[in-house]
Amino acid sequence: MKSTSRLGAWVAIAIGTIYFLLPLIATFEFSLKMNRDGYSFEAYKVVLSDPGFQATFGYSTLMAVLTIIVGILLVVPTAYWIQLKLPRLRPLVEFITLLPLVIPAIVIVFGYLKLYNSSAWLPLTGNDRATDFLLMCSYVTLALPYLYRSIDAGLRAIDVRTLTEAAESLGASWPSILLQVIFPNVKSAILSGAFLTFAVVIGEFTMASLLGRPAFGPYLQLIGANRAYEPSALAIIAFLVTWASMGLIQVFARNARPARKTA
């Protein structure tokens, strides 16, 4: 009985693994076949040396970093304050932060275009910098569910209220409490939210495309529509970036309670 159920588990794992790995392996294999005479990394060479790749990947990386910074500055104090003073509002805030998962990105973008078009009271689509700013704001919205969830969980793991009160009674100002007591203790939660955000922003297509900005997502789509081998190589690269982010989350999650021992 026991051995059959264990066998069943292994079969399920095997099927799952094949389901995920097979397309990946096939894509990888295909991406190596650009040269007729055997396997090579030719497609990767072409992709990586394409100025379009470098420009869009650089642009998206920059956007991701800005999104993460603004997101953290927005979410950490908010989640902290909710937990400390307004715990009753938490379900509401949780609901709001989940909205970007429920409302399609395309709806959000059309909303933005309506609100911030060149004839609106706050025209943000007039020039490239303003549109970049608008795009970053939409990425922050998109990242909210991931950032808020992980930071809120991180805050819940420490006794926010008592730590705050201890710091207050020792004369710490609010900025000091946030920067020296709260931030360091939710650092790993912040980082895992940040990597998740990075993975999401790097491949985002809808918003960048509709706002007409030169991001990596639209570039992927463009190459995919016009070339044969390069899209596969790009898919593998994008996949590796995402997994590197996930891997880093794991690393930081595991180091959440480091057994530091200074000599």
């Binding site: 420490i158 006794d159 008592t162 730590l163 009160e165 201890a166 710091a167 207050e168 009674s169 020792l170 004369g171 710490a172 100002s173 000091s176 020296q180 007591v181 360091p184 203790n185 309670r257 530091r260 021992k261 200074t262």
Partner: protein, 334 residues
């Protein structure tokens, strides 16, 4: 003029009145205890003194200055929490130095003061340890040192020992008391353990349902309870209702009669002494140095403590005895 005075303090959470017309005053250098059962409002009063909670009405003054609405940062009142509340990201030195850093002291001064206080709480050798590498007792001593090093005007301790095991608790409470005396620190200590309150305090405030039920010197509160509640809470008083008092002692009273178990003398059944009561031993429990008997007399069961000198002293159930209770040892309480 007392150092800390609290007048007509009230605290309401929604419809729930938690602190009710609370009044107290303590002198500089005094060690007082808030003693009371769980939920009686001890922590709430302490949090209002520290500034973490705003009173619904009333005033708190320190050295003549009204601090009722001052922010906690400005009060200069130290707090030690039951849960230690050490900063997990800082080692012992950094935790203790935090308050000085916030006061913008220079590095050399911080190092000197931290080293001094580490010696005071006997944590030498643990300077670079992080909180999760310390035992409960050590953590609480770090928390104490962290509160002491900034030289607070008043030190508040909210059940600081209740998460520790009995031996460490005894040790640490002596250490706290010793440090408090040496520094002449005005201290309020919260506990629901009457033994802790009795051994540590200059003065005890017994609290019940958000009010001060009785205040006084430790020995007074123990020997002269003013109310039935205090008598029940402080010791193993025998509390007799009006009818029982009438039946057993032939006295007419309104409230309750409180008689401590060690003040009842047990004589043998043939004793010729005047003013004794006949009784029968029902049960006994061995409590180490004393034996506690349940003795029935006139339909009332009394707890009676006797010293446990030799094994042959023990009186088995069913033994007939005579009991002698001095009028001075009977206390009428509300």
């Amino acid at each position: 003029m007392a150092y800390l005075t609290i007048n007509n303090l009230h605290k309401r959470f929604d419809d729930h009145v938690v602190v009710h017309d609370f009044n107290m005053s303590i002198e500089q250098g005094e060690f007082v205890t808030f003693l009371g059962p769980s939920g009686c409002g001890k922590t709430t009063v302490l949090r209002m003194i520290a500034g973490f909670e705003t009173p619904t009405s009333g005033h708190i003054r320190v050295g003549g200055e009204d601090i009722t609405h001052q922010s906690p940062q400005k009060r200069g009142i130290g707090m030690v929490f039951q849960s230690y509340a050490l900063f997990p990201n800082m080692n012992v030195t950094q935790n203790i130095g935090f308050g000085l850093k916030m006061r913008k002291c220079d590095g050399a001064e911080i190092a000197r003061k931290v080293a001094e206080v580490i010696k005071l709480v006997e944590l030498s050798g643990k300077e670079n340890h992080y909180p999760h590498e310390l035992s409960g007792g050590q953590r609480q001593r770090v928390a104490l040192a962290r509160a002491l090093v900034v030289e607070p005007r008043i030190l508040l301790l909210d059940e600081p020992l209740s998460a520790l095991d009995a031996r460490i608790r005894k040790n640490l409470r002596e250490q706290i008391r010793d440090i408090q005396r040496r520094l002449g620190l005005t201290t309020i200590f919260v506990t629901h353990d009457q033994e802790e309150a009795l051994t540590m305090s200059d003065r005890i405030f017994v609290m019940n349902q958000g009010r001060v039920e009785q205040e006084g010197r430790a020995e007074m509160v123990y020997t002269e309870p003013a109310t039935e509640f205090v008598a029940r809470f402080m010791g193993n008083y025998n509390l007799l209702g009006a009818a029982e008092t009438q039946r057993l002692l032939g006295l007419n009273i309104n409230g309750h009669m409180a008689i401590r178990p060690e003040s009842i003398h047990v004589l043998d059944a043939h004793s010729q002494q005047a003013d004794t009561l006949a009784g029968t031993i029902r049960q006994h429990q061995l409590l180490g140095n004393i034996i506690r008997y349940q003795i029935e007399s006139a339909g009332v069961t009394l707890q009676v403590d006797r010293l446990n000198r030799t094994a042959s002293d023990l009186m088995p159930a069913g033994t007939e005895v005579r009991l002698q209770i001095s009028r001075d040892d009977m206390r009428e309480v509300r």
